[in-house]
């Protein structure tokens, strides 16, 4: 029976587990990647501007430059972690039914990893000689 004196469900009270205790880690990683993204995004925009209208050979030459390639890899990593965390918050805010929510959070992780892996593969292939 629900009592008005507590916001917790009886099952939660019996289990006594409280929250999953991953909130601070989520928050902090979101901020760390946000700081990294400010720097890396500006570099990424610069790289894209430098690539505009370039023919294939010089575009590949720029992307396969070690410094550019490493910065692109860092950008992909940081951006994918950041967007996965952000989308998870959006999902948890708007999807309340347990099963669809778990599916969406899992799909979110799959998406971030798939996009990240494809991008990392492409940058590595280019910088190791196409």
């Amino acid at each position: 029976m629900l009592s008005n004196s507590s916001m917790r469900t009886p099952l939660a009270r019996v289990r006594g587990l409280g929250s999953a205790k991953s909130g601070t880690g989520h928050f902090w990683l979101q901020r760390v990647t946000a700081v990294a993204n400010v720097i890396l995004t500006l570099i990424f925009v610069g790289v894209v501007i430098a690539l505009v209208g370039r023919p294939y050979a010089s575009a590949v030459a720029l992307l396969s430059n070690p410094c550019v390639a490493i910065l692109m890899l860092l950008f992909i990593l940081s951006a994918c972690i950041h967007m996965r965390l952000g989308m998870q918050v959006i999902i948890e805010d708007y999807i309340h039914a347990e099963f669809p929510k778990i599916l969406a959070v899992m799909g979110n992780t799959f998406f971030a990893i798939a996009v990240g892996a494809a991008s990392v593969y492409a940058v590595l292939k280019l910088s190791f000689g196409g």
Binding site: S3, A34, V35, S119
Partner: protein, 131 residues
């Protein structure tokens, strides 16, 4: 009276009851741009994979990116990126414990659109001039 029924609590008012404010608009804009950037990573990954696949695939990707629709998507994507970044800087200010009073919040919300829109246009001018 053995049964204790849950009290009929009042529902909190939702979006439609409030007058739109700058902070509300910039808050939801942060989410919308974030979601746009999220979905747009498919295009960035596709473009990178095309570059890694060889000249023919890369030329196709470049042609799509250079078309009117491609340019439009790129413009919206770059605006989303800059807007989300400037909005994020606002969050850093709050994280450091500043900017919570109403006037500062309103000013920072206006500032985020007043900076991100011209900055996006400036980036495009630079890109088109260098081209």
């Amino acid at each position: 009276m053995a049964e204790v029924k849950p009290a009929a609590r009042p529902l909190s008012p939702h979006l439609q009851i409030y007058r739109w404010s700058w902070t509300m608009a910039m808050s939801i804009a942060h989410r919308v741009t974030g979601t746009g950037l999220y979905l747009g990573t498919i295009l960035i990954a596709a473009w990178l994979v095309a570059a890694a696949s060889g000249p023919a695939a890369f030329e196709t990707a470049q042609a799509i990116a250079g078309s009117f629709l491609g340019r439009l998507v790129l413009f919206l994507y770059s605006f989303s990126l800059i807007h989300h970044m400037v909005g994020g800087l606002r969050h850093f200010v709050w994280d450091l414990g500043h900017g919570y009073d109403p006037q500062t919040r309103m000013n920072m919300a206006k500032f985020s659109i007043a900076v991100s829109a011209p900055l996006t246009v400036l980036i495009w001018i630079v890109a088109l001039v260098l081209r």
